[in-house]
């Protein structure tokens, strides 16, 4: 489903965030990217979502070479992905409900169908009572859950989550973990960048470890 081969990413300014990274994620797999802060976990996810382009090497997602995708094709790649951002990227000028509606509006869902799906997604993350709330009035953990609701509302084939439990207490982290698990069980490929060892213990995913921009080759492929 996702395959990186010999990917190097150098940011403008010369910092090399990834060096010669090779890894594969099979369809339907659940994988955690683990490593210290600054190791390059977010960079890996950004490469998979065509938010960043690799300096060299190949990034293939769902059979498409994402690194050299034409700009026009990128939106359609992203519609197959659910993205949970480390910094949430919620829109603060609209309600929680409207934030979750956004991916559905973009994809032209019928309004009633979209509203039903948005409520279901909010319900899953325990925010149904806050649907009219503006994100600024939500706690850090609630904002994070809102971001997850927005990522899964259109039932993407691949879920890429960056520190999805960073701000959550153990109980909520466990609940979100279950959400990812159920998502994975219905066939979605799930890639999560996290430091959360407890979550790893609970979900028992395959772990890919990264240190200073290098992927540990022993963990790079499914056994």
């Amino acid at each position: 489903m996702i395959a990186l081969s010999n990917v190097t990413k150098r940011y403008p300014g010369g910092h090399e965030a990834l060096r010669n990274a090779t890894l594969t994620v099979e369809r339907g797999e659940m994988v955690f990217l683990m490593g210290h802060s600054g190791a390059g976990k977010s960079t890996l996810l950004k490469l998979m979502a065509a938010i960043e382009r690799p300096t060299s090497g190949k990034v293939v997602v769902n059979g498409e070479n994402v690194g050299s995708l034409r700009a026009r094709a990128i939106p359609y790649l992203r519609r197959n992905l659910g993205l949970v951002f480390q910094d949430h990227k919620l829109l603060f000028d609209r309600s929680a409900f409207d934030n979750v509606m956004l991916p559905l509006n973009i994809q032209g869902y019928d309004r009633r169908d979209a509203a039903r799906r948005a409520r279901a997604a909010l319900d899953k993350v325990g925010l149904l009572g806050h649907e009219k709330a503006l994100p600024i009035t939500l706690s850090g953990g609630e904002q994070q859950r809102l971001c997850i609701a927005r990522a899964v509302v259109h039932r993407p084939a691949v879920l890429l989550a960056d520190e999805p439990t960073g701000n959550l207490d153990t109980a909520y982290a466990a609940e979100i973990g279950e959400l990812f698990r159920s998502f994975n069980q219905v066939g979605a490929t799930v890639v999560i960048a996290t430091h959360d060892l407890q979550l790893a213990e609970r979900l028992m995913p395959r772990l890919i470890t990264i240190a200073s921009g290098r992927v540990d080759t022993r963990t790079a492929e499914a056994a």
């Binding site: 026009r72 939106p75 992203r78 992905l81 991916p103 973009i106």
Partner: protein, 302 residues
């Protein structure tokens, strides 16, 4: 198809909401665009009225066809039928050389001179009205008739009308230049308005792009906004021109009573108003398109 309609409906309602939410800046933009459009539109109306006034005030320009002195009555009647059958001729009058001499005798002070002549020095002549008093039509007719046999000379009177037409042509060129400059300014105004909007909505644009919005999705509401801004500006311009002509007409009514005539300035016609609106909407759309294209080029993934 349904999704497409939905996208457009959504873009339309977003635009309306934006316009209503910031009534002051909307009003300001509309007024600026309106004035920019009213200037050339007003000049256009002015020129059209001057042209019409000149047409009605000036005597119809006529052609006088002089035959050669050796032309006989047979030649004259031949030319008479040719002129009568010519499609560009609406009316014509034959002035035989004897009549011309009589007229000349009757003119004060000329009688003596005419008596002294031993033969008639005047040629047969025709006075011709063209079907269309436009200078180029007159000129075409003049050069054509001048080549006919036994025609000595064809004179176009009211040449001043031709000169005035040249002046009006200069006016039209000035109008074209003015319209071009102001069209650019309209594009610039929408470009800038949309640029500011996109800056304030930068986050929204970034996030929607990240979760799969196409350029078209992002562009659409801004294009609508640009077009609607142009349209409203066009309406404002029509209103301004209409008010100005109405005021002028009110003043003219008093003046025309004094002269016992009825003078009136023609308004911008419906057709011209419609093209002005279409033009303004198109320019607003263009400015928005350019603005969005520039912004999106800046936020592409590196």
């Amino acid at each position: 198809m349904k999704a497409w309609l939905l996208h457009h409906a959504r873009a339309g309602s977003t635009t309306l909401r934006k316009l209503v939410r910031a009534p002051l800046s909307t009003l300001f933009n509309v007024v600026v665009v309106g004035i920019a459009l009213a200037l050339p539109a007003g000049l256009y109306v002015g020129l059209a009225n001057v042209q019409k006034a000149v047409r009605t005030l000036s005597p119809e320009p006529q052609l006088t066809v002089f035959l050669t002195l050796d032309a006989g009555k047979a030649d004259a009647s031949l030319i008479d039928t040719r002129l009568k059958e010519h499609p560009l001729v609406s009316r014509m009058r034959y002035v035989p050389r004897e009549r011309a001499l009589e007229d000349m005798k009757r003119a004060s002070g000329m009688a003596g001179i005419v008596e002294a002549l031993d033969r008639n020095p005047l040629p047969d002549a025709f006075v011709v009205d063209a079907s269309d008093p436009a200078p180029d039509v007159m000129e075409r007719l003049r050069t054509e008739v001048a080549t006919w046999p036994k025609v000595a000379h064809v004179q176009l009177d009211a040449e001043w009308a031709q000169r005035l037409d040249a002046v009006l042509k200069v006016g039209r060129i000035a109008l074209l230049l003015l319209a071009t400059v102001l069209a650019f300014s309209l594009v610039a105004i929408t470009f800038n308005t949309i640029r500011l909007q996109m800056l304030t909505q930068r986050e929204e644009i970034e996030v929607t792009t990240l979760i799969g919005a196409t350029d078209g999705f992002i562009r659409r509401p801004f294009l609508y906004y640009g077009a609607v801004l142009g349209l409203l500006g066009g309406l404002a311009a029509c209103g301004l021109v209409w008010s100005a002509t109405t005021v002028v007409n009110a003043a003219l009514i008093d003046l025309s009573y004094l002269y016992g005539a009825r003078w009136e300035v023609a308004q911008l016609s419906w057709r011209d108003s419609a093209s002005l609106l279409g033009f303004a909407a198109g320019l607003g759309w263009l400015g928005a398109w350019m603005s969005v294209a520039r912004h999106l080029a800046h936020v592409r993934p590196r």
